[in-house]
Symmetry: C2
Subunit: 146 residues, 2 copies
Amino acid sequence: MNPLHLSSQLCFPFYAISKEIIKRYRPLLAPLNLTYPQYLVMLVLWEKDFVTLKSIGERLQLDSGTLTPLVNKLISTGYIEKTRNPEDERQLVIKLTESGQQLQQQAKEIPAKITEVLGLDEEEYARYKEMLDELACKLEVKGGKC
Amino acid sequence: MNPLHLSSQLCFPFYAISKEIIKRYRPLLAPLNLTYPQYLVMLVLWEKDFVTLKSIGERLQLDSGTLTPLVNKLISTGYIEKTRNPEDERQLVIKLTESGQQLQQQAKEIPAKITEVLGLDEEEYARYKEMLDELACKLEVKGGKC
DNA sequence: TAAAATTAAATTGTGCACAACTTAAATATA
DNA sequence: TATATTTAAGTTGTGCACAATTTAATTTTA
């Protein structure tokens, strides 16, 4: 077992599976005019509206260099708006538009469709999910359960 | 348990952990003048030299739009060379330079350093690896063990 | 064997991802 | 309370990732 072989790496299946899962999201998200990272931002906002760019970034592990253009895209698509916090003008406060709120109804079908296209049953899904949450804790990846 | 919550998604920990792992590779690969995707290409070539661009792409699940500029970067760094297969001029054959072969010696330290910075013991590493390989099979992600 | 279909790379364009830096606002401290 | 420090976004530049298209070589088939 050569540790320099691709098949010995833990990193590679993560990289490959992550890309594969995002690929399977693409046709489901395209009708909503969303990319996968944009969908993540919408998930955060559907959980809690009126949040700062900074807090979205902490949740998704993305910096302003990624989020600023991404948020501008979502604004031009019409799903969100940005204002400044009057008590701290540095902070950008993101809120859903009417259209962004309504989109949640369409998006509700996506989780079920995804488990379908991944071809995993409920038990498998839960087992993988648990293992990943555990590893996320170990690696201290924020936005998770610990 | 709202299925539209970020914390319910299988995709997100994959996305976040994958980015986190790549982030931890970065300082280890920087002294070798490699990015993570470039390191993956080198891993493939250290396993088997003189392979086509197409076969590298199949192994890593990357298309020519990604690989062509990446390979050109590795050429300008001096680790690989490209020639055409004289029996089929469409095919690009990639081979390691002297420098690219020597790099393997330095790279041999990386797997051990990575397990160290990930903070996983051998048992944990093996357990996660097994589960990922299993999922890769289920999702029919090529380049894996099935 | 000439035309059609297929294949391998390359090209073009969009959208992340992130490092490094800049700008402006708020807070801390001398 | 001026000055220094910190903080939140924004900007710039590099490097993937991938869809869609183009180009050129090879193979198929009419």
